[in-house]
Symmetry: C2
Subunit: 327 residues, 2 copies
């Protein structure tokens, strides 16, 4: 009986593969290099190999699998199963679903990785009781996904949920994405925090940060957060500014989408103590009070497993051997 | 046979009532004063009377009606049929649906007026071919509605679609809504345009606008637009700034919701020639190019009938005598 699911979290450098049951519990996993430089066929072979390795660990045959979910960086087309060119996966039109289905006797379901993570938090994490939810991940960049009536909000062409590129400070600094000045990612990501701290060092606005004597290039987020916690005012102000702009983005999401829950994940949440309160004040200042009241702001629950859990959530929610590809 | 529908566009000063068929064609209409000062019962009686008057004009009996749709300013609860306190309707909890259903033998369906207008443009206007659409109305304020998979996006508690309160210029001027600094309504509504023009006069940044010699208080949008069209640079710049911020709001909607179409209505669209091009440049500068490409920006088609058409659209889409209240 096909009671298990395979999930693949496809990244630019590594492939994380997991076998899970219908409750999202991961019973075996495998990890391999993506090897983007070797081309599409190599990636497909690496994915197939990693699935077989995970199956071996789980002591299962492929017949035990219902389907395979893939979480991939976007832009992509989930209906056609194509990944377009991204900064991490340098292909113009990678027909990943068709190529995988040629190699493995399983239905393959593709989803944007941030959307998949949002679905995982809804199905297995912080959002299990809600139908209207937004997931925000704050790490090097800022991504997210919108859950509406319990399902991923895709928009017309699978492009919805680009929370990180919402403009919250017109004329502000640019993010990595060409000329996007003052978007949420440029104001509140891990990259933005470090950029501001390095700028302060380079422009000699500060001599250094408490407990850190190195050069601007050597500074890490961990060191900056430690300095802020030890009372370094300049370091604290960088997190406060980040929290202020994050709060504007969150307020905009609340006013537009009236969610019941917003779930915050990503590595920068480790510094949550340094920006959360300021963010909440900013949300209160910028959102419609009655709509704000409907919404809880909470931490993600799935931690580093969220990518893999997302790929499994896509597989579990969208079908299997006996289902169509659309739910 | 109940083949017609009644729609009521409930405003703070007037009630517009129409009888329409399933295609949204309005075959009779009636107009009366809301008389908010006389209380909830008086409003309900005024609505009932206006429906009977419209029925007389259409030479129809109440048995010809399938159901009654009400478009009302929010916040409201469509499931419970309650309008909460608004600036236009000063009630704490007006159970309008229950009170109307006591007085008239029809199912009554309540909807936020801007959402209803969005649905009307989707069903009968500019959005007939699309499933993923956003409607923006720019007049004294800025409102809107989100259409997802052909239906109104409500969020968890019927509060979604508050496009006008999205922050696009933190620290900017406030809108009418308490302390919302730099929201779209504060930057790009008709009120915002006039505020900037009057400020320029009062602070003597300009001596006057071409063809206008009166005091700041006397200036109207019509006069400002005329001055801009005649080549008045200061007037043109006010519309250009408005277009710039409107473009940021539109870009944010595109990146978040990946719509196929955004429909622009409201009185300020009469000055479309003065801000549209700047707005499009601003959208191009602030949205993700691939997601921007999916979306067309067009003018609304229903004009001043959009409120009434919205109430009818709600009635037609959500049910009738034989249907549940939820579709």
């Amino acid at each position: 009986m096909a009671e298990y699911y395979a999930g693949v979290d496809l990244g630019g450098t590594k492939i994380l593969t997991g076998i899970g049951d219908a409750s999202g519990r991961i019973i075996a996993r495998s990890r391999s290099r993506t090897e983007v430089e070797r081309g599409e066929r190599a990636i497909v072979k690496n994915i197939i190999r990693s699935i077989h390795r995970a199956l071996e660990k789980a002591e299962l045959e492929i017949e035990s699998l219902n389907c395979l979910g893939i979480g991939s960086p976007g832009p992509l087309n989930i209906t056609e199963g194509i990944v377009y060119e991204t900064s991490n996966l340098p292909f113009r039109r990678f027909p990943i679903v068709a190529m995988l289905e040629e190699e493995i006797a399983l239905p393959v379901l593709l989803e944007n990785d941030a959307n998949a993570a949002a679905l995982a938090e809804k199905m297995f994490g912080a959002g299990q009781q809600v139908e209207e939810m937004i997931y925000i991940t704050i790490s090097t960049g800022i991504g997210g996904g919108i859950i509406n009536q319990g399902r991923i909000f895709h928009g017309c062409c699978d492009g919805a949920g680009e929370i990180g590129h919402m403009i919250v400070n017109p004329g502000g600094p640019t993010c990595g994405f060409k000329q996007h000045r003052g978007c949420l990612e440029a104001m509140a990501s891990g990259t933005a925090i470090i950029r501001e701290a390095r700028k302060a060092l380079q422009q000699q606005e500060v001599d250094g940060f408490l407990g850190f004597e190195g050069s601007a290039e050597e500074l890490t987020g961990f060191q900056l957060a430690r300095a802020a916690r030890q009372g370094d005012q300049a370091a604290q102000e960088i997190y406060e500014e980040m929290g202020f702009y994050l709060g504007i983005g969150v307020a905009n999401l609340i006013d537009l989408l009236n969610p019941e829950l917003i779930v915050f994940g990503g590595g920068v949440m480790k510094a949550r103590d340094l920006f959360w309160e300021i963010m909440e004040h900013s949300v209160a200042d910028h959102a419609i009070p009655a709509v704000r009241e409907d919404c809880r702001l909470v931490e993600a629950e799935l931690g580093e497993d969220v990518g893999l859990a997302g790929a499994l959530a896509v597989a579990i929610s969208r079908g299997g051997k006996d289902a169509g590809k659309e739910d």
